[in-house]
Symmetry: C2
Subunit: 236 residues, 2 copies
Amino acid sequence: MNISAPAEGLAAEPKTLVESAYRALRRDIIEGRLAPGEKLRVEHLKDNYGVGAGTLREALSLLISDALVVSQGQRGFRVAPVSLEDFEDITQTRVMLECDALRQSIAMGDDAWEASLLAAFHRLAKAEEKRIGSEDREEWEERNRIFHEVLIAACPSRWLKHFLSILYQQAERYRRMSLYLQPIPRDIHVEHEALLHAAMNRDADKAADILSEHIRLTFRSVQAIQADQQSDKRQA
Amino acid sequence: MNISAPAEGLAAEPKTLVESAYRALRRDIIEGRLAPGEKLRVEHLKDNYGVGAGTLREALSLLISDALVVSQGQRGFRVAPVSLEDFEDITQTRVMLECDALRQSIAMGDDAWEASLLAAFHRLAKAEEKRIGSEDREEWEERNRIFHEVLIAACPSRWLKHFLSILYQQAERYRRMSLYLQPIPRDIHVEHEALLHAAMNRDADKAADILSEHIRLTFRSVQAIQADQQSDKRQA
DNA sequence: TCAACACGTTTTCTCGAGATTTTTAATTTC
DNA sequence: GAAATTAAAAATCTCGAGAAAACGTGTTGA
């Protein structure tokens, strides 16, 4: 995720094979098709993604920026491992940065920002309705990301937003493990709605509180799932 | 700067040519030998660094993680541009993150941390003495980096420390423009000493205040230099 | 004078093959 | 039987050459 990437996720079409392979790999890692810790053998993967070895190596190098891939000189590439400890760190860091960014955004957002926030919420709500029946998760994921992005869009700090985009991506890996088997009952739509209203009312304290809880709840869900799996193992 | 890099900057020897080229390029960018905004032509640079084209491309891809290089598909690589606006953003973000990390570090640091902090300060002080006469800036730069790193070393958040290492590197680019022509009189040794004592006394509020000022002063120095250059231009 | 176009040059992007290093497996030795 | 040694196999790392795109220059036409 380049810091100079176009804002608001209006990702332009990939112009090079490196870019295509980078995106395909990123998707496969975030969505779990490439398992955490898995070895990424260039000679094997280059066929899967239809590019040369050098091109694939370059794509993997780019994924190191996002901390989705790790490399240890002379011993190749691996999918970045996951751990509950890491997700807790991601969650806490994200709460701190995203609340700060949200406060700045609420303080500085203008009418156009309010309008795009409403629009993003509406698109998300529509996807939430559709999501009930279908398994079209990707659309909801995309719109959820954009809603969170627009919330902090009026924050003027490019670096804050850059770091948050990395953390969001990291969190998505974990979130995908928990969202469809909800050990903690939650109505995400209601959470988003409360967030929207607090932001529109320029109530920074309330918005930050809701956002904190919103982010932390996902961590607790993943935590609960892991606890379940642990006790399952013990019984078996 | 890989997040899984060994802590405390005990950088192991580079094991691959990619790693060597990466470090050489990073150094040349931070120290200004490769100018901000400059085009990085692979065919030309590969001779300078004594590696093949593919290898150099990979090194450049790694530098994108650090936001020291930017690329626009099909139009090659460039050294990341600099601007006062960007440095102000870096400064503010760094103040927020580094103060938070420092508070956590002070809260959690044990005896071993205190010892390594004293040691790092001592090494820095020695380098400061030597620096008066000589032009051996690199040693001081390295020890200054380590002192700041050790200050926050006891903070348990790997992500916070990862982001801070990126911001520190960015700030170093700007700092190198200002430190030897000091438009604002300052005694950096005294600042570091006050920081050390506040940390050793576990006075988090005071330490955070000093650190904020310490980081902000560098920004004001660069700001003053740019203002001077502007007025010089106007006179000429 | 300016804009648009075409051509040649430069640079980027991409691939496949060869040299090192790591990993695996079998063999030997205590 | 276990540890150490050795050799084969696999994977990584590296380079140079060819295809595609961008850039600069000079020409043409209104």
